[in-house]
């Protein structure tokens, strides 16, 4: 076999490739996808690498099939993934909802482009952030991780698999074309140095096993197809056996559980990076590639003597409500630069709840923020405008 079937060491690597390598390191062995700029490199890398690791690569006929396919693979016990961009996510959303309802662990990568419809296929944006939260119909808890470099694309792909396995749901990895197509140094540790979480298989006998029975963790134990459990799963509202039950009582038990299993674990899921927020008058909240492009504005603000803090969200969903609420009681305000016309800034506004100012610095995508704009917003917040 080829010696390099498992990589470790230092590489000069593109973001999309780093994502594929992260998935392989996490134990992903099934990739179903459909070509789309700027995410195709992930599929190409998987097509090259998976067969050598006894995995399965399949290029489906569309994104709808890709999403359905990775759910099927997940039920067969394989860690599975698909990668696409905005238009593909729009097609996948129905089956993402099925994954939420069936509680099938898998990872969905969105290498975001800008604007609605076909938009800017070769350039970037962050305008799918709300879609990642509310894209599929109905109520469900969801997890979205946002990397800002190829290294972090690698790291967070592993985290995404860990969360999906632990909490049994499709997890979004919200990169963008800039991170996906950027080539930087990526350090890949040895497999044994990584923390890999696998789904909890049931230790019950088929006779005692109920597919959706749960304990206080709210997460049912898994049984894969072919192991003799012969259980039923459905996208319909179902009871603990997995049987359809369209009563209000059943709905009241099932749907809140899908939301609460994420809500109750927000401290585990919420990943942030913060600098100088303790003594800050104004905090810049950003995520993804924007968190790097606006750094000069923060440096300039500091030179002007402004006490500015910096909070980067690696986990955007679930949103760190409590953290922002507490900060809003101490600071003059928040500046939220993002590559859309106001999505996460709405969440910050909701949490700040009139305690402090919230200033959005929008950008429609395809370019990067002028740091003067961000600096201006910081100054405005400090002066209470």
């Amino acid at each position: 076999m080829f010696q390099k079937s498992r990589l470790h060491g230092e590489f000069f690597m593109q973001g999309d490739i780093a994502c594929a390598e992260g998935a392989l390191a996490a134990g992903c062995r099934f990739f179903g996808g459909y070509p789309i700029t700027p995410a195709s490199e992930i599929a190409e890398r998987m097509a090259m690498r998976l067969p050598l690791l006894r995995g399965v690569f399949i290029q489906y006929e569309d994104e709808i099939a890709s999403m359905a396919g990775i759910l099927g693979a997940s039920w067969a016990g394989m860690k599975s993934m698909t990668a696409t961009s905005g238009p593909g996510i729009s097609l996948m959303n129905e089956n993402i909802g099925l994954g939420m309802m069936m509680e099938a662990p898998c990872v969905v990568v969105n290498v975001q482009r800008g604007s609605p419809s076909t938009g800017l296929p070769t350039t970037w944006g962050q305008s799918d952030m709300m879609q990642a939260r509310w894209g599929s119909h109905g109520d469900y808890g969801s997890i979205s991780l946002v990397p800002n470099s190829p290294q972090e694309f690698f790291d967070l792909t592993i985290t995404a698999f860990n969360f999906s396995e632990k909490y049994r749901l499709p997890v979004f990895l919200m990169a963008d074309a800039l991170v996906g197509h950027m080539t930087e140094k990526v350090v890949i540790p040895k497999v044994e140095e990584l923390e890999i979480i696998n789904r909890k298989y049931t230790n019950k006998t088929p006779k005692d096993y109920l597919a959706y029975d749960y304990d206080e963790s709210l997460i049912p134990d898994f049984a894969k197809a072919g192991d003799g459990y012969r259980y039923h799963t459905t996208g319909l509202t179902h009871d603990r056996r997995g049987y359809p039950d369209m009563t209000v009582e059943c709905q009241e038990e099932l749907v809140p559980r899908l939301v609460n299993k994420i809500k109750n674990n927000i401290n585990d899921i919420s990943l942030t990076e913060e600098y100088d927020i303790e003594r800050a008058d104004v905090i810049v909240i950003s995520y993804g590639i924007t968190s790097r492009t606006i750094l000069p504005a923060i440096t300039m603000a500091k030179k002007k003597g402004i006490k500015v803090g910096y909070l980067r969200l690696k986990t955007v969903w679930p949103f760190p409500d409590e953290k922002i609420r507490k900060l809003s009681e101490k600071v003059a305000g928040f500046v939220v630069p993002e590559m859309n016309l106001g999505q996460i800034s709405l969440e910050v506004e909701r949490c700040a709840h009139n305690n402090s100012l919230v200033k959005l610095v929008p950008h429609p995508g395809g370019g990067i923020h002028k740091f003067e704009d961000v600096l201006h917003a910081i100054e405005e917040v400090v002066h209470g405008k």
Partner: protein, 311 residues
Amino acid sequence: MANNTAQIIQEKSHPMEDLLRMDRMPHIWCSGCGLGSAVTTFVEGLKKAGVSYDKTAIVSGIGCTGRVAGYLRLDSYHTTHGRAIPFATGLKLANRDLTVFVFSGDGDLFAIGGNHLIHAARRNVDINVICVNNFIYGMTGGQNAPTTPLGAYSSTAPYGNYEMPFNLVGLAAASGASYVARWTTAHARRLTNSIATAANKKGFCFIEIVSPCATVFARKNMGGTGLDLLKEFQTRAIIDHDADPTQIPLSMDNEIVCGEFVNEDRPTFWENVQGGIKNRLEKFSNWEEMQSNSRKITHKKDRKYTSSIDV
């Protein structure tokens, strides 16, 4: 009535209870529906095929037939509308020991899911698709289907259907299926044999089951009970294994040509994957060599290259 039936079922053992979820009976299907026969033949077919029930999975889409998965005591998946085939493809490829059946209706598999069906047949993925064709959307109240015969009435074709229907066996065969058969629910024994054949055959197998829908299709068209429709199938059906599947469309009153039209062995998706990897590994000793060789471009010697940077 329903409670009474449930009581009787619970008291007496049922001959198919090792494969039916008896705790879900009675089922939701109308009296006279062909789905009871379809499920019975499926259970009998599985028994006959001798496959392990623990290693058999069934995937359904949405609709009347979409409910089949919920009643069979197998690993069963009731997925979204039209997406049973790609789901089943993922399930099968991720665990090649499974025998995977897709059990769904004509609207689910040929309207919303039509693209998946032809691509799965083209790939020759090792799954078996059973399509119960009742010519109409039953669950939603009798709307037009891609199989509704020309001129037939439905709740969305009050002036008669003006679209040509699909010929399901023709489409499956033309797309490359390894096994293609059509039976009506009146052909219980032959249908059972077909299901057993498909269970043990590698490659993409497709079986169309022409099935009566007394509640909506017949009511809007010829009228009659489920039994009347079965009798009509008996008079209209002929068996011709040599028929060209692309030449035997169904209409309101023509012959229903039944039979096993395609039964061929061609390499499956997974066999082709394995073959490709083997070829490549034999050629190159390591990964770098494989990458560099695949990208090596040979140019003619006399060709001159210019670059704007040099100028």
